[in-house]
């Protein structure tokens, strides 16, 4: 995919330079070129999907395909801002198209009313990145398997009230560059100023350092054996959202919420047995970590706010 991107037109137009100026100054021209050479699939146009669509379109990707088989309901209009209040009954992807396109006419936005599950493998292969929002676990595992092998980036996510998750698989060998400030060694003949007597960070010059990262597949992530010692040790630093994802179809996942001072406790019930209890600190996704469940005598009333 990287090769394809580089074959794209390297010249940025005046219009693009003006519109993307503030982001080019952040992530650089190369990154902007890659964005504008990439085609992205976005499946699921609920509240979260609309936000992702907006962000990708504003960033200036080459093309974005909005895929959603659902119909616009009364609630859809309140959940997201791309669907007009008059569009009830229409397909959600198609109803979102006009406003999505208006966000940035330089992006090719398409709407597809099909079910994501019905799409054949090669449908996904035409994209550089795929975002699956609110999709079933099986679908996500299938697409993740299919795409990551071909260096197509995969992102999955969903929200549940105040909580949510995002999973990404950028491949086994994801290459990237990191911009680092140059450390200026003290030299007599420094060209950047006559007073470079000591080594210091030069805010004016940066250097790009090449790096590689390796991501696991969704299947691997979901199949972790949490009873193993190693996994247990890592449990404290594992976000609860992971377990929400895990149990998403089988469990009545938010059974009870009890307020304890400023913390909320969620019990994830998997097949009627408590899986684990989780501390959620604030609503700011700040620190969510596992704790042991209370005694079986506990009764509580629960509140849960769902989007």
């Amino acid at each position: 995919m990287i090769d394809t991107i580089e074959k794209e037109d390297p010249v940025i137009s005046e219009e693009e330079a003006a519109q993307y100026d503030r982001q080019i100054r952040l992530w650089g021209l190369d990154a902007q070129k890659r964005l504008r050479g990439s085609r992205v699939l976005l499946a699921g146009l609920g509240g979260l999907g609309a936000e992702v669509a907006k962000n990708l379109i504003l960033a200036g990707v080459k093309g974005l395909t909005l895929l959603d088989h659902e119909q616009v309901s009364e609630e859809s209009c309140r959940a997201q801002f791309l669907v007009p209040v008059t569009a009830q009954g229409q397909n959600r992807a198609k109803a979102s198209l006009e406003r999505a396109q208006n966000l940035n006419p330089m992006v090719e936005v398409h709407a597809d009313p099909d079910r994501v599950e019905d799409k054949p493998d090669d449908f996904f292969l035409q994209f550089d990145a795929v975002c699956l929002i609110g999709c079933s676990r099986d679908l996500m595992v299938r697409v993740d398997q299919l795409c990551s092998q071909r260096n197509i980036k995969v992102f999955c996510g969903d929200v549940y009230g105040y909580y949510g998750y995002m999973f990404c698989n950028l491949g086994q060998e994801h290459n990237y560059v990191e911009e680092k400030l140059k450390v200026v060694k003290p030299t007599r003949d420094s060209n950047d100023g006559p007073e470079a007597k000591k080594a210091k960070v030069d805010l004016n010059e940066t250097t790009m350092v090449k790096k590689t990262a390796s991501f696991c597949t969704l299947k691997e992530a979901l199949e972790v054996d949490w009873t193993s010692e190693k996994a247990k040790a890592g449990l404290k630093r594992t976000p609860v959202d992971y377990f929400l994802l895990h149990g998403n179809e089988k469990c009545q996942f938010i059974k009870q919420v009890k307020k304890y001072k400023c913390f909320s406790v969620i019990y994830v019930i998997l097949d009627s047995k408590p899986l684990a209890g989780f501390f959620c600190v604030e609503n700011s996704f700040a620190g969510i970590r596992p704790m042991s469940p209370p005694s079986t005598k506990f009764h509580g009333h629960g509140h849960a706010a769902f989007a």
Partner: protein, 643 residues
């Protein structure tokens, strides 16, 4: 939003409460969308700015066709599209306008992402309205809650002020590109804009470093006056007399003035001396510029010296003809988005950089520094706007004690957290704004400080007042300054000592608009640093905050002061810590010069050459014992995992 029964009351509060959003820019657009979708019904939005094409990458309520129109107005119209039943009022105006004092008293929770923070801070304290304050820059962002009596106010912590450069660094011994850029902007004003005594570009003969003996300085000063009388005539008048001849101008600035600097040999004992340029020589030896058919932006190319000579000449011609067109007594205002103005600064700064042995910079980079551009993207603003609403909901639910300051980092920290919440600090007892009887001590020379300087530089600029009334505590209640127009104007150019003000005097300063009274203790001194007009006792203006040692990662965040003459980029150059700047994304677009916004300064003599200003603040993440203890309790619990 679907709401379960426990939150019905909250839902009712949402639809009845009134919200004020200050700023319809990066954060403002996202926030407006969030408020409307969350169910807020009564929203007022204010922004004095108009839409620019560079806003469109993130201020998504605006489209290309809206460029030039009022941000507040268009934001309102776009938001109404997806929630026609919301009641939104837009004001294309400044928050400093006192009309707003009345509106603020009606509101329960203003969400405020914007500049003029000091003023808004005081208004909210005066009206006891919770204030949610936020800012973003690049990938970084921050949200905090200010509640009178419960938390620190915006001004409780002394803010590290914008780094300013001494006159002699700008005029005589620049060592960094930024010094040359500031010089070039001063030059623009001297030639085409509003001349300012604090923006001299010619060699500074009074440079204390230059003289071997003190008496020499005086001798040099007199000698230079005989040097073609250039110093006696204003730069603009001189330039006009030559018909804005670019070559003559070039030779004066880049040859003659540099040769003059070379005579101040002490300056060059330990520094590399500058090398003067000669127009004719450069023209004769010019080679055609090799065109690098760049895949880069045209602006990102760095030209050769002759290229900048030509750019200099071309921009001088364009600017001088604009000036002529405007007529007698006209002035141009520097604007980074005005091509000849930007060309001029690029050329002049680069020529100077070359003279002082620095690597030259592309127009793209010069524009960043000269225009104080803060890079900005949609997603950072989206995250922050989401957090603002969450904090707001806590306030409305009556749970202010659960509110936090939240930092958005670029990368996850050691605990794999991207968002770091910190408990809010209680008000500072010494705060000169929210303490019960605010008091401050200011050091200056009573014989040399005028009443006008006290009002404008100290009270308005430094202490953020808008309309101060000053009374001398001399037993007679002498009124020194009245906020009513015309009443005390006769006093403006008199010195403070003329009114009997001396060491130990006390001034009572009131700003009724802000419901703010400040007692100023006068400390007379004859020994202030070169270029410093006054000093506030008890603060260290140019020091960056040291990161707290009990944090896993040094995470000091400061809000950048947007004054264009002293851009924020170099202030943290020497720091090893991870100090970063956070500035509200709205601020960079506030280019209107109609309103003077307060900006804290270290008291150096300078004038804002345009009105892009902002505030500085230091917030350190403080995870107190309380919250970390609660987290620690978990570590002891057993985890039961079922297969």
């Amino acid at each position: 939003m679907a709401i379960s029964h426990g939150y019905i009351e909250l839902a009712d509060s949402l639809s009845s409460c009134k919200v004020l959003v200050v700023g319809a820019g990066g954060i403002g657009c996202e926030l407006l969308k969030n408020l409307v979708l969350t169910g807020f019904k009564n929203i007022e939005v204010i922004d004095l700015d108009t839409i620019d094409v560079s806003n469109l990458n993130r201020q998504f309520l605006f489209q290309k066709k809206h460029v030039g129109k009022s941000k507040a107005q268009v934001a309102k119209e776009s938001a109404l599209q997806f929630c026609p039943s919301a009641n939104i009022t837009a004001y294309h105006d400044s928050i400093m306008n006192d009309v707003f004092f009345f509106f603020l008293t009606e509101y329960k929770t203003p969400f405020v992402p914007v500049a003029a923070r000091n003023h808004v801070n005081r208004m909210c304290l005066a009206a006891d309205i919770p204030l949610i304050e936020s800012g973003t820059a690049g990938y970084l962002g921050q949200v905090t809650v200010i509640k009178k009596g419960m938390t620190e106010c915006y001004e409780c912590q002394p803010k590290p002020t914008q780094k300013t450069f001494p006159g002699c660094t700008i005029r005589n011994t620049p060592s960094e590109p930024i010094h040359c850029i500031v010089w070039a902007k001063y030059l623009f004003n001297q030639l085409f804009g509003e001349e300012d005594a604090d923006q001299e570009v010619s060699p500074d003969t009074a440079d204390p470093e230059a003289a071997w003996k003190p008496e020499d300085t005086a001798a040099r000063a007199t000698a230079s006056e005989k040097d073609g009388d250039i110093k006696r005539v204003s730069t603009k008048d001189w330039a006009r007399s030559t018909g804005f001849d670019a070559v003559k101008l070039f030779n004066k600035l880049f040859k003659d003035d540099i040769m003059y600097l070379l005579t101040m040999d002490k300056l060059w004992k330990k520094r590399k001396a500058p090398t003067p340029l000669d127009w004719q020589q450069l023209e004769d030896s010019a080679r055609p510029q090799e065109e690098t058919p760049g895949s880069g932006l045209k602006d990102q190319q760095v030209l050769g010296v002759w290229g900048y000579c030509q750019l200099f000449q071309h921009s001088v011609e364009t600017l001088s003809s604009h000036l002529q067109e405007k007529g007698e007594g006209a002035e141009l205002v520097w604007d980074k988005d005005d091509p000849p103005a930007m060309d001029f600064v690029t050329a002049a700064a680069n020529l100077r950089m070359h003279i002082f042995s620095m690597n030259m910079k592309s127009r793209f980079d010069v524009k960043s520094m000269a225009g104080n551009i803060i890079p900005a993207i949609a997603t950072t603003n989206a995250v922050i706007a989401g957090l603002i609403v969450l904090e707001g909901l806590k306030i409305l639910a009556g749970e202010v004690e659960t509110c936090r300051t939240i930092f958005l980092n670029k990368c996850p920290n050691l605990r794999k957290k991207l968002l770091v919440p910190c408990v809010l600090d209680p008000p500072s007892a010494n705060c000169y704004v929210c303490a019960s009887k605010p008091e401050v001590t200011v050091k200056f020379n009573v014989h040399k400080t005028t009443v006008l300087a006290l009002q404008d530089r100290i009270l308005k600029e430094r202490f953020g007042m808008v309309a101060p009334d000053v009374q001398i505590e001399d037993g007679k209640g002498t009124i020194l300054i009245s906020s009513e127009e015309g009443e005390t104007e006769a006093n403006n150019h008199k010195f403070l000592s003329d009114f009997g003000i001396r060491n130990g005097s006390r001034l009572q300063v009131d700003d009724f608009l802000q419901d703010y009274t400040l007692l100023v203790n006068v400390l007379h001194t004859e020994e202030l640093e070169h270029d410093v007009e006054f000093e506030v006792v008890g603060e260290a203006p140019d020091k960056a905050p040291t990161p707290p040692s009990n944090q896993e990662e040094a995470n000091s965040i400061t809000n950048g002061n947007k004054d264009s003459a002293q851009p924020s980029t170099s202030s943290k150059a020497e720091d090893d810590s991870d100090d970063v700047m956070i500035v509200d994304s709205d601020e960079e677009e506030a280019a209107s010069s109609a309103t003077a916004k307060p900006a804290p300064s270290s008291g150096t003599k300078r004038k804002h050459s345009d009105a892009e200003t902002g505030e500085t603040s230091t917030k350190r993440p403080r995870t107190t014992q309380q919250s970390s203890a609660a987290a620690d309790n978990d570590d002891d619990d057993d985890i039961i995992a079922l297969d």
